[in-house]
Symmetry: C2
Subunit: 592 residues, 2 copies
């Protein structure tokens, strides 16, 4: 069975040596001292290793079954959900007014990584609930908040998000689900929604569905869309559960992975719904949660890769196969461990350097969200909006790639379900698709975010890279290994931006044809910046006589690897981008 141990040391390094949270000046951050965060992460790690990780292969094997309208979750999921609730893990970064612990989103993110690594499918029940909590918290009436938030914070009730329909995913303007206003102020919701994660299950007394639907008078396309609260059981004025609502799970999908999550077809047959937020402003209400939702998926990308990596590294140290070409490193044994072989190393270093870089970027992104929400900092909000498609798109692409790479270390055993490596790859695959397929992330980045607020945020990002390089180029240790490659990669990225500006206005396809490459390019530059920052922090620790020298030296070596072996990708992406739209669009549709 796969192993998992929470990377608490690496998280502590990020929080305290890189992000320096207690000095960050963000409300709530001053309390995040080393001992406190260590205790939280350590405790989360225990739940993850002892309770969640052992259920991961069980959830994969058993999946979810629809029986007489109720979805049965895999053995042990119900118990684990109770453990999570009792431990207060579902309330960590929620509003204390509704029973939450009020910790920063950053801490929710760190703990979330640990739970996702241990059991991605299981963690989705809570993840979706958190999304519903955020939506009602942001847009609900006082009564709606009082009715739903305490239950959602405690995960006594869980939540869902209902967007997709059979004929429309990305293009929500095609939506057919209807909301008809009733005399009592409620709405009758009718339609079919698909791919509804946690749409029906047996772990909560009620399920609070948030449903996008078209109410009369809103006009064509996405303009007419509103957001509704549609609970599985109606809620009586005293908070007790009333009648069963007219909605049902029509099917549980058979998927490539995340079998432990119940992915439902939901049928709304004149179900009672309550408008959440303003009429015909449903898309805007969804968008306010988008940064957190997409950061959460970007986190899944590297969190699953982390779990896969831990197993690949352990296997590479244990499995004896072949001899080191430079002379045996295990002469008394029948063969050397796999890890002596350079190509196995290359594979493991790819994984390690990606995961640690992505963790840094994600934590930084979470701290920007805190800065934006808790301090009302518009620059932080703009910057993180720019980063979100990169965090989501780049990290889920690479996360899947790295889970596949980890599987490769096991040879044939990687392909056998018994070893668990296939599950990591299969689970990680969905993160590239949901919450906006990665092509849509690239479109969002190039088509919207680059130009947002007059391009101010992307310029601020370039400025940040430049300033960091300038401030640190006196340190020769940083210059060659980190700053020079970062500057070169950033220059490529800027050249791509210039190309888009020059061609995109008259020929938008020229920019869009390069959007995916740009997203990856920017991912490398972001991870490069994170590695440069981490290296700086690690050198500072070494200079200050830190005791964990092995950790800090490994951090620097891992960063040097990423800079040397991954940043050269930006030149390739730039070359691809500069070929423009013509090669991409040359064929007639029938020629495919």
């Amino acid at each position: 069975m796969p192993i998992y141990a929470a990377p608490v040391k690496d998280m502590q390094f990020l929080l305290h040596d890189v992000l320096k949270v207690t000095e960050a000046g963000i409300p709530g951050y001053a309390d995040l001292d080393r001992d406190f965060t260590n205790a939280v992460l350590d405790e989360a790690g225990k739940v993850a290793s002892d309770v969640l990780a052992p259920l991961n292969p069980i959830g994969d094997r058993e999946g979810c079954r629809l029986e007489n309208g109720v979805v049965r979750t895999p053995s042990g999921f119900g118990h684990a959900f109770e453990v999570m609730k009792r431990g207060g893990w579902t309330a960590l970064d929620c509003d204390p007014d509704y029973g939450g612990q009020g910790l920063p989103y950053l801490m929710g993110t760190a703990v979330g990584e640990i739970f996702v690594s241990a059991n991605m499918a299981f963690n989705m029940y809570q993840g979706l609930t958190h999304g519903a909590y955020s939506a009602i918290h942001a847009h609900g009436s006082a009564e709606q908040k009082a009715t739903y938030l305490p239950k959602l914070v405690a995960c006594d009730w869980t939540g869902t998000m209902n967007l997709t329909e059979p004929h429309c995913g990305t293009d929500l303007g095609l939506m057919r689900t209807k909301a008809e206003p009733q005399a009592d102020g409620s709405y009758r919701i009718t339609g079919q929604k698909i791919f509804i994660s946690a749409g029906e299950h047996d772990m909560a007394a009620n399920i609070v569905h948030l449903v996008l639907a078209k109410a009369p008078g809103g006009g064509e396309g996405t303009k007419g869309i509103s957001l509704f609260i549609v609970p599985k059981f109606l809620v009586n004025p005293d908070g007790s559960l009333g009648a069963r609502n007219s909605l049902s799970c029509g099917k549980v999908e058979e998927k490539m992975g995340i079998h432990g999550n119940s992915t439902c077809v939901m049928n709304y047959d004149g179900a009672t719904g309550y408008l959440l937020g303003d009429l015909h402003k449903g898309m805007r209400a969804m968008f306010t949660m988008m940064n957190e939702a997409r950061l959460g998926v970007g986190l899944q990308g590297y969190a699953v890769a982390e779990a896969a990596y831990q197993n690949a590294a352990a296997y590479a140290r244990d499995r004896l196969q072949g001899r080191a070409v430079t002379g045996s490193e295990n002469p008394a044994g029948p063969a050397d461990p796999l890890i002596v072989h350079p190509d196995i190393r290359r594979n493991l270093m790819d994984q390690k350097s990606f995961v640690e870089g992505a963790r840094a970027l994600t934590f930084w992104g979470a701290s920007l969200i805190d800065r934006s929400v808790r301090s009302g900092d518009a620059e932080a909000e703009g910057l993180v909006s720019l980063m979100i498609p990169v965090i989501k798109g780049f990290q889920t692409d690479k996360g899947f790639e790295m889970a596949v790479a980890a599987q490769q270390v096991f040879g044939g055993h990687g392909y056998i379900e018994e070893w668990g490596m296939s599950q990591f790859a299969r689970d990680a695959r969905i993160a590239m698709i949901y919450e906006g397929a990665n092509g849509v992330q690239a479109l969002d980045l190039v088509g919207r975010k680059l130009a947002q607020d007059g391009g101010r945020h992307v310029l601020a990002f370039f400025e940040m890279v430049k300033t960091f390089c300038k401030e640190n180029e006196g340190d020769a240790r940083l210059k060659t290994g980190f700053l020079d490659p970062l500057k070169a990669a950033s220059k490529d990225l800027q050249a791509a931006g210039v190309y888009f500006m020059q061609t995109g206005m008259k020929a938008p396809n020229a920019a869009l044809a390069g959007s995916y490459d740009f997203m990856h390019m920017m991912g490398h530059v972001c991870l490069g910046l994170m590695w440069a920052r981490m290296a700086k922090a690690a050198y500072a620790g070494l200079d200050a006589g830190a005791t964990d020298r092995d950790f800090l030296e490994a951090k620097i070596a891992t960063g040097r690897y990423y800079m040397a072996r991954h940043l050269p990708a930006t030149a390739m992406h730039l070359a691809r981008i500069e070929t423009g739209a013509e090669p991409v669009m040359a064929l007639a549709a029938e020629a495919f």
Copy 2:
């Protein structure tokens, strides 16, 4: 259900316009005229579309079950196997002396692609049988040939290859399976083999296991290994089946994909075996089949991607979602088809340009094998040996990547098993692992093949690229779009070769750390050469007034895409290679 139509037109273009088979001067090729090859491929396409493709999802869903020692294959597999036998498809490129049709290996390859695209797991039963046929044909005694070959050619009996054991995959020197000589000249075989494809099933009267085992006196490591014929039922002198041999299937593995193939743990409990070839030369006997076996797996890489691509292209034309940014292309409909979006195009062009390039490389490789075997051409043999790790490693990596890309076109539907796209990705994954994991292919390429025969073959390859460029640079249409990028990529590849030569002798890890990048780099150069050749043939066709102008123009546009958007990868790989071993090997094993 996924669709599939054999790409007969593209295959005909390769056979007749690019490879010009009837003029190739290879024994047996003169008969391969257009009408004949068209008839064969067309008929294979019918069997593939009508019989094999519909069974592909059934095989995936049902898998294989071990019941009382017998493995039950999925519904319909038995019938389909009979169709294949009756149609003579199992005997296509086998020796007429044993019932084969004697067609060139190239034709077996083309037909093989069609069957693999339609149903990879099903085709493995025959594929393994063909491997056993080849081994016995090359190394068997007259009596062994007479006993086994007619049955294997007809697929009345099927074959297997038994190499891997629980503790050894790549490092066969650790093998424990023993062969004890008996008084009658036979051997008693004892041991456990794992990952045995088609190891036990219900579609053939007998199964001929080829088993690697250690016989006394051979010395340590791989030197002591011999190859044995170990039939499931012993064969009486009159050819009828005798006693059941002491071997059994202990388990059918649960795998990520190729569920229709029965992947067995095989237990040999003092089973009767017969030496095949020379004592203690088992590894050499296996190696003689390696080129064909690895080319066959490289073929699986792009063949599954082809099937996935056909479905992605069809979906992109049908699914209405969003509007073209340059103005609607379906104004009467509720939305435009996906294929109007540049990033969907990019994705489809990646797939199309890879698959067609890989098909060309594979067909060329198969023709080199024919030239080597049928004409005894040592240069062709050397050249194809050099290409084999590229065909296997690069094509299976990219084939999987492209199957995943095809899945992405479907959005959420790509993740749902019902649509069949997940199966393509899961099936394609194994090709990166078996028949030598791709890291081992890279090692074979850089550690063995580059230096083979004093480096003659790699120099011949570079010379071939150079000559082609020189001969065609007068054609301006070829020069910019094809020859210039090919020359640049080839220059990068040569620079990597020089780096290996200069550093590899004193520091072998410096070469090995870059081996995987070199394999991919060479893959791009090979596909670049193929595209340049195809473009030349397409222009020649257009100049000669060919009637299928749309096909030829699409061919050229697809090639230009590959050259413009994929050949720039070589510079990145070179940059990675030139960082050497240091970043790769910097960490202590415990630091992972």
